[in-house]
Symmetry: C2
Subunit: 419 residues, 2 copies
């Protein structure tokens, strides 16, 4: 991960040959001004497509209760040999645990296939929102032709806003890199704010690239990077039924196709990591009700799994999360969360510090809480981006997990989400 | 579990030959009236003892970060061959992650041993409260002689209030039963409100009985019952560093000592179950910030482990907990939590209903959310004791897990617990 690429605008449209669009079709409730001349609606459906067929990789939620779109997308990619051209996604309704879910998810693919003149197996479908409410298909039937005709190479924001549910900001990131002398671009968009505790994937994440890379290598890079990005994210410990990350590579950058390990693959993987790590960070910071980004950087682990287990346990702990909300340097809760993580660690080797733009303060040495300046610690914890730095002093491996604080607003948002 | 015994007053003093006491020694902060003639203090230390030596069983937290009192108690019971006479416990300070923790926990045992004229290995020590703050030993040195002199056979409430931290009510329960023609009694007290997600044990639970039972059978009964009571409890998913349940049996009821499986053992086990299940229920209902008790009763599981995994996952889910706070019949979150529980279940067999004193309403059949009367569901969920009834339709096993809702007050209580 020694590469560093520059941020680029454009999200899923940053790479060559990807056009997108989003609109409001009526799945989300209209806002209070609805019906008036100035009525504004939040986008609730989006479509994006590549000019040419894409090698495609995807990872899906490990939740045994799976959304119908997950089942249909998985089946489509199997049938098409991991080739895709377009993605259709809606928000506000997860199309999950409904008796007609599969039928409607397939219908969405058929509508897109017909408009774009492609096979329905080349269409990826995704839905996010409330589970267990029938998805209204009529608005989608009306919206797809309009979306298909309106696709644009600069309409990434229309799409990125259409997948937002309780998200307060859209999440896009892209970078440029070079493979075999050709400039390549990789970009993505993500949604998610609650029900986030990914296992193999998280919420909805769509990545596009013009880099030529074979489907198996693309899958390898995705699976590899997911492990250290989305899978190290926890907003509330709830793993969604509709989590999916997919990467589409259309090869329009003109580089020699990456077909094996080596420098080109490493550059691609690093660029993918940078996009996914930044989207992960954005997801954590926009966690439901969150006032701050809380990261746990574990170092000195004997292996990567140990680091992941400890770091995720800390950012998942409600007691750590509420302490961070209260800017309370309650280090015992961090040690407690490491202790029950299931990781094989030696409690008497653990060091803990708090870090933010405001400074660094050590609070635990070799498993014992030490005397520290409470007011200095409070000052650091009042920042809106905090790192809990844990050194297990037991090896050379490390990882960062991403989370947020637990606040009154999380309770408020989720006390009555459906209405 | 076909037995049913009547509730009896007296908590840990209900059984013959157990005396107790509690006082304020200065570990908790004095209340606002402190220093005045009417100053009242909340008890923060307790002592209880049996007139004769007890066969003793205990289970401890599986957290790798263990409180010093856990280490010392475990060592004492090993040395004494599972014989104990007295318990000393304090609240407000967990004596955990402190460099001098072991030394101070041992000192507490020595102080009690000296006053009662017993071996220090016959003393159980427990602490609960903030992790990582030095335990002040001076107030304890002063308090122990006073406690030892003031022990009474009716002072169970003094002790039960002394172990409270954020608990809003004391938790005691006792029942009477008959073994070999002799009336026996078993009773207990518990504390706990947050940092509760037991793994093999929970928080502090002390059980006393005058029933004669061998130490190995006592341990067997305890381990067995813990699995289906405390280990099915989750307030916030955080497993404490200081969890402990111990049972002391002094044999003063005069029954033939229970030394093997059989009817006597079954009666004892059932009585123990009733005490522990009721204490578990009290712990859940008094969860930090909770406005209601939320139980998940899983039936139709292919084995007990499957039932436990599903039920615990549901009561642990922050999204289920906030929905219960909002009386929102959001069944998708329940299905989601079952799906990610790790249990091997068939999503398309699951039925879900909500139950309370206000009625019963089914919301999911064979994995799909069904049409139901939202206002009737809301009425049921406004009750302060709710059961989420899940039928996996896949076997004959069942279990009930205990939890509570997630509220603004949980965030408030834990945003700055230490001050």
């Amino acid at each position: 991960m020694e590469y560093n690429f520059e941020f680029k605008d454009g999200g899923i449209c940053a790479a060559k040959g990807f056009k997108a669009g989003g609109t409001y079709c009526g799945i989300k409730k209209p806002n209070p001004a609805a019906g008036t001349a100035n009525a504004k609606h939040k986008n609730d459906i989006c479509l994006f497509a590549s000019d040419v067929e894409c090698n495609t990789a995807a990872v899906y939620t490990q939740n045994k209760v799976k959304g119908a779109p997950i089942t249909v997308t998985k089946r489509n990619l199997e049938k098409s040999g991991n080739k895709s051209i377009a993605v259709i996604a809606n928000s506000k309704n997860a199309n999950t645990c409904n008796a007609d879910g599969i039928e409607k998810a397939e219908k969405m693919c058929e509508l897109v296939a017909k408009e774009l003149g492609v096979a329905k197996e080349q269409v990826i479908v995704a839905s996010t929102g409330v589970i267990g409410q029938m998805l209204p298909i009529e608005p989608i039937i009306k919206a797809v032709p309009i979306l298909a005709q309106g696709l644009g190479y600069d309409k990434n924001a229309e799409a990125a806003t259409a997948i937002m549910t309780t998200d307060t900001v859209k999440k896009e990131y892209a970078v440029e890199f070079t493979v075999s002398g050709k400039k390549c671009t990789i970009g993505g968009m993500a949604k998610g704010s609650g029900m986030i505790h990914p296992n193999m994937a998280t919420t909805l994440n769509f990545i596009t690239t013009d880099c030529a890379i074979s489907a198996p290598l693309l899958q390898k890079a995705l699976s590899d990077v997911v492990r250290v990005t989305y899978n190290c994210l926890s907003i509330d410990g709830d793993t969604s039924t509709n989590d999916m990350v997919c990467v589409m590579a259309n090869g329009l950058a003109g580089n020699d196709e990456i077909r094996q390990d080596g420098e080109s693959y490493n550059v691609f993987r690093a660029a993918l990591y940078q996009v996914m790590a930044n989207l992960t960070r954005m997801l954590a910071k926009d966690g439901e009700g969150a006032t701050k980004l809380v990261m746990c950087r574990v170092s000195g682990a004997k292996d990567e799994d140990t680091a992941v287990e400890c770091a995720k346990s800390v950012v998942r702990s409600p007691l750590v999360k509420t302490a961070m909300f209260g800017a309370d340097a309650n280090c015992g809760r961090i040690l407690g969360a490491i202790g029950y993580s299931g990781a094989d660690i030696d409690p008497l080797k653990i060091d803990v510090s708090y870090e933010s733009a405001g400074g660094v303060i050590q609070v635990c040495r070799a498993g014992f809480v030490i005397d520290f300046d409470e007011s200095a610690a409070k000052e650091i914890l009042l920042d809106d981006e905090i790192t809990i730095a844990v050194n297990l002093n037991d090896g050379e491996h490390g990882i960062t997990a991403y989370g947020c604080d637990l606040t009154y607003d999380y309770v408020k948002i989720n006390g009555d989400y459906r209405t």
